[in-house]
Amino acid sequence: MIRTIGVIGSGTMGGGIAHVASAAGLDVVLHDVSSEALKVAMERIKSDLRRDVEKGRITTTQATEIMARIHPRKAFNDLGEAEFIVEAAVENLNVKREIFKKLDAIVAPEAVLATNTSSLSITAIASLTKTPESVVGMHFFNPPPVMKLVEIVRGAQTSGATIKTATALALALGKVPVICKDTPGFIVNRVARPFYGEALRLLGEGVASVEVIDKIVKTEGGFKMGPFELMDLIGIDINYAVTRSVYEQFFHEPRFRPHPIQQRMVEAGTLGRKTGKGFYTYNK
């Protein structure tokens, strides 16, 4: 059983994964190149834990223990003691490949190297390491302490043993793992595309308005949020970027074609809730 995990990158995802792993009783080495980012992450975890204590989900002692098991480290080599690494650095193939190349030199040969990428190819990330069979995708959803799903992504060379270890770790963290093949968008980011894409087409064709489509999808279909509300929440730019990435990785398969309505909104800077205006207007 895994005792120590290393988490690379202390943004929302990395910090959240460190929080989840520590809460499950693992020792966590949390690495970031920026000590400022590490400080911010530790503060955020602390404040999340404080809220959990206030809500009676955990005791003060438990919160203290969870904090104590997370070791923020700026030195990359400190990751060497980890038996399992989860990389959650920026979503950039070159950065990730550089990290994996460096990991080769410091971790034990049997260590599993997981990446939390949501859009890059696991196979491409694995290709620069000496042990591509130990590289696996482990796609957590935002925010990691709340969202139960983890996509375990099998790269072209990932071994069965690596999949097994990653799945067991996800279960130990209290998550629900689903196994999928290394294909564009994995499961969720691919299968969800028509939810946005068809809604945009319906709007573009004048079949119904933003408000009417959202109302139908919620009231008739039983969805918690309508497609336009959800795009506003995610951010129009993020949603558009994911669509484009899946579309391009599938060599322009028409099912994934982005819609000009969304492109115009990105150009206008009306990106949803975060800018106060998207498909709806929000009071900031």
């Binding site: 009417v212 109302k215 039983g222 969805f223 918690k224 099912r255």
Partner: protein, 258 residues
């Protein structure tokens, strides 16, 4: 106000059963006739079987999505045999209201609805009109939908309307992903429910709806737009055909027993 009406439903399973149960539950006098090629799932208790529509009915439903020839025949029968004041609410997912209007003499009485299996679990029915539909018909349709305890939303006359079109495309994508070995159907369902909060997974939803119905809407979209975007996943088509042959076997077996 809707006058205390007798309701007649023509069409296929399970739409006739779902709408009959809803109308019966709201106290309407419900009569129904199932298409001869439809799976014989029986009718909800209290539904009266009727061979032909008559002048006694003031509200009529045509609930066929998968057999355009039969749909056309039902609509023409309804228009010919109903009294002049009766209105027709017709499922308009695979044939537009405008096209159906071209089949009948009293096209002003025709309103489209999005009759699709499992959609009545929700609290809303979509309505659509053709250019010929008159305002009184739409108002009566809205009142009737309200009497069924549902909200209504009027959308443009377009294949698949809103919810069935979005849902069928989600199911189609899940079938492509399954077919390509991306993940197992049950894992896709788990992922969509936990990763994006969907009320149901696309493959389990497809099973509940029936892949024959999903295929009918997607094929109609494909035909209507002429775009590859709407082509049916081969796996989905296979599942639809399997269901159809099961129905056929079931019918053949039943006939042998007679």
């Amino acid at each position: 106000m809707v006058p205390r009406a007798r309701v007649v439903l023509l069409g296929e399973s399970p739409l006739v059963q779902e709408y009959a149960a809803l109308c019966l539950g709201k106290g309407w006098d419900v009569h129904a006739h199932l298409n001869s090629d439809s799976a014989d799932l029986g009718l909800p208790k209290g539904t009266k079987k009727v061979a032909k529509p008559t002048k006694a009915f003031t509200i009529a439903f045509e609930l066929t999505n998968t057999n355009p020839e039969q749909k056309r025949k039902n609509i023409i029968d309804l228009d010919r045999l109903l009294g002049p004041k009766a209105i027709i609410l017709s499922s308009s997912l695979t044939v537009t209201v405008a096209e159906q209007a071209s089949w009948v003499s009293r096209s002003e009485r025709l309103v489209g609805i999005d009759a699709f299996p499992t959609m009545l679990d929700g609290g809303l029915i979509e309505l659509a009109t053709s250019p010929a539909t008159d305002e009184a018909t739409l108002a009566t349709a809205k009142d009737f939908v309200k009497s069924l305890g549902k909200e209504s939303a009027v959308v443009q006359d377009s294949i698949g309307m809103v919810m069935p079109r979005v849902l069928c495309m989600l199911i189609n994508e899940a079938c492509f992903a399954m077919m390509e070995g991306v993940a197992a159907g049950k894992d896709i369902d788990t992922a969509m429910k936990l990763g994006t909060n969907y009320p149901s997974g696309p493959t389990e939803w497809g099973k509940r709806i029936g892949f024959t119905q999903v295929e009918a809407v997607l094929s109609a979209l494909h035909h209507s737009f002429g775009e590859d975007r709407y082509r049916v996943a081969p796996l989905l088509r296979q599942m639809a055909l399997r269901r159809k042959s099961n129905h056929k076997e079931h019918r053949v077996r039943k006939e042998k027993l007679k």
